[in-house]
């Protein structure tokens, strides 16, 4: 099969067609009664519900609350995980001791952390932030350690042959390799942090955030609001993935090889 690289306009048209087709099927499903109107409101009703919500300050406050926690979790988790993973993995003995724990937390379904963290931090924004941070940190620790191991097995031969000092080895070999691995891992960390932030909104019953909108809508079975909330979360995730992919292409373009 031939691989085709689409032109930007063609690609945009394909995306628009895909979105349009999904809404058309949704509208048909509603109009023809394939699914009960109670479970699946019309796209127009959902749009109206979203429009009404967007006119309230509470909606924007909820979005800001989730987005700020989410991004703070990504930033703090990346810094903590990146630095810890880097220094732990520099020493193979220490890494051998730490790796099972890092892999344990990395492999844990992220939402499992929410009730666990809330035991210590209680319900509220702190738990939500801690969950996002922990999930990102575990991923970044593993990624930084992978970078160290990869550097050790290839480029470090040259550093040794060239009699590079410890400082120069760090600056010219380990740091750039680790940063590039972290940038790649960020693409996975960003949506993961959104998942756990919204899940924490719902599970630890914070008084703000997109998860709260979903839980409030569910409590009164307001499906229009529920679908509107899901669409907002989905759009946020989509935009974040697109921005992180763009950042990755711009900052570590050479990793595309």
């Amino acid at each position: 099969m031939q691989s085709h690289k689409l032109r930007p306009l063609t690609r945009a048209l394909c995306v628009a067609a895909g979105v349009g087709a999904a809404f058309a099927v949704w509208h048909l499903a509603f109009s023809l009664g394939w699914v009960s109107a109670l479970l699946l409101p019309s796209p127009a009703d959902v749009a109206r519900s979203l429009f009404r919500m967007a006119q309230t300050s509470a909606f924007w406050h909820d979005i800001a609350s989730t987005v700020v926690t989410w991004l703070a979790g990504v930033i703090v988790g990346t810094m903590i995980g990146g630095v810890l993973g880097f220094f732990l993995a520099l020493n193979p003995y220490i890494w051998a001791a730490a790796e099972p724990w890092v892999e344990f937390f990395r492999s844990l379904p992220s939402v499992v952390l929410v009730p666990l963290v809330s035991i210590f931090l209680g319900v509220g924004a702190n738990s939500r932030f801690a969950c996002a941070t922990l999930v990102v940190a575990a991923l970044m620790m593993a990624s930084a350690a992978t970078a160290i191991r990869a550097t050790r097995s290839s480029h470090l031969r040259l550093a040794i042959a060239w009699r590079a000092s410890f400082f120069r080895t760090m600056v010219s070999f380990y740091f750039p390799a680790t940063l590039s691995h972290l940038a790649v891992a960020l693409r996975a960390a960003i949506p993961l942090a959104l998942i756990v932030t919204v899940a924490a909104d719902m599970l630890v019953a914070t008084d703000s955030g997109l998860g709260r909108i979903l839980m409030d809508a569910l409590a009164v079975f307001d499906t229009k609001k529920l679908y509107a909330g899901v669409i907002v979360v989905g759009v946020l995730g989509y935009l974040a993935a697109a921005i992180s992919a763009l950042l990755e292409r711009k900052t570590i373009h050479w990793s595309a090889a």
Partner: protein
């Protein structure tokens, strides 16, 4: 100067396959290492570079604290992907705190001669395997070192580029101790004066005709 003094090194993780070596190369020597796959050629280069330590004996490299110029076999892993072509070439000099305008000019001249002059600000992923091998070779030549190690440096080059690479190599080996690993009899047409065969778990010095005969037979049997 490079000296293997009663050196033994493991070639396998279980230590079952071992290689013993005892020879000395002086400044100006240009040596060729050859042998079957897995006989330990790259391991010997790693011992000289200091990347590996021998299990028994010592490997003496003088001057000890100067960088060793090393064109590794896998050209891709030899280049740092986040650095430009020119930065990759100048990195050993930078590491040795011996960056100079002269090294930079030499690198640019060599890139120009190899037809890569306009790629100096490009990145390794934009190069073909052969071009990466050229950059590795240029970097080895530009490394401020008295020891030059080349692990199959011409394997991906076409005949024209290979001839030019040999010519440049000939010029850069004069004040150095050079060790080259090859599987190709054609590579012996160079400035080489010492030939070492790796066979039966040991390193044995042979003459040019023995080296040629081994490498030509290896090709015909392949």
């Amino acid at each position: 100067m490079i000296e293997f003094r009663e050196t033994i090194v493991s070639l396998s993780k279980d230590g079952q396959r071992r290689l013993s070596a005892g020879f000395r190369l002086s400044k100006g020597d240009v040596a060729v290492l050859f042998g079957t796959n897995g006989s330990g050629k790259t391991t010997l280069l790693d011992l000289i570079a200091g990347v590996r330590k021998p299990d028994v004996g010592v490997v003496i490299v003088e001057p000890a604290n100067l960088p060793v110029a090393y064109a590794v076999q896998d050209s891709s892993s030899g280049l740092l992907p986040w650095k430009t072509i020119l930065s990759n070439i100048l990195l050993p000099a930078l590491v040795a705190n011996k960056s100079s305008e002269r090294t930079r000019n030499e690198a640019l001249t060599l890139l120009q001669q190899f037809g890569l002059g306009d790629r100096q600000l490009g990145f390794p992923y934009q190069l073909s395997e052969g071009e990466k091998q050229i950059v590795n070779l240029v970097r080895a030549i530009c490394t401020p070192s008295e020891i030059l190690l080349l692990d199959e440096p011409f394997s991906s080059l076409n005949s024209k580029t290979r001839a030019l690479a040999k010519e440049k190599l000939k010029q850069s080996t004069k004040q150095r101790t050079t060790v080259l690993v090859t599987h190709d009899a054609a590579d012996l047409e160079g400035p080489f004066n010492r030939f070492f065969q790796l066979a039966n778990s040991r390193v044995e010095e042979v003459d040019l005709s023995t080296a040629k005969s081994f490498l030509e037979n290896a090709v015909s049997q392949a």
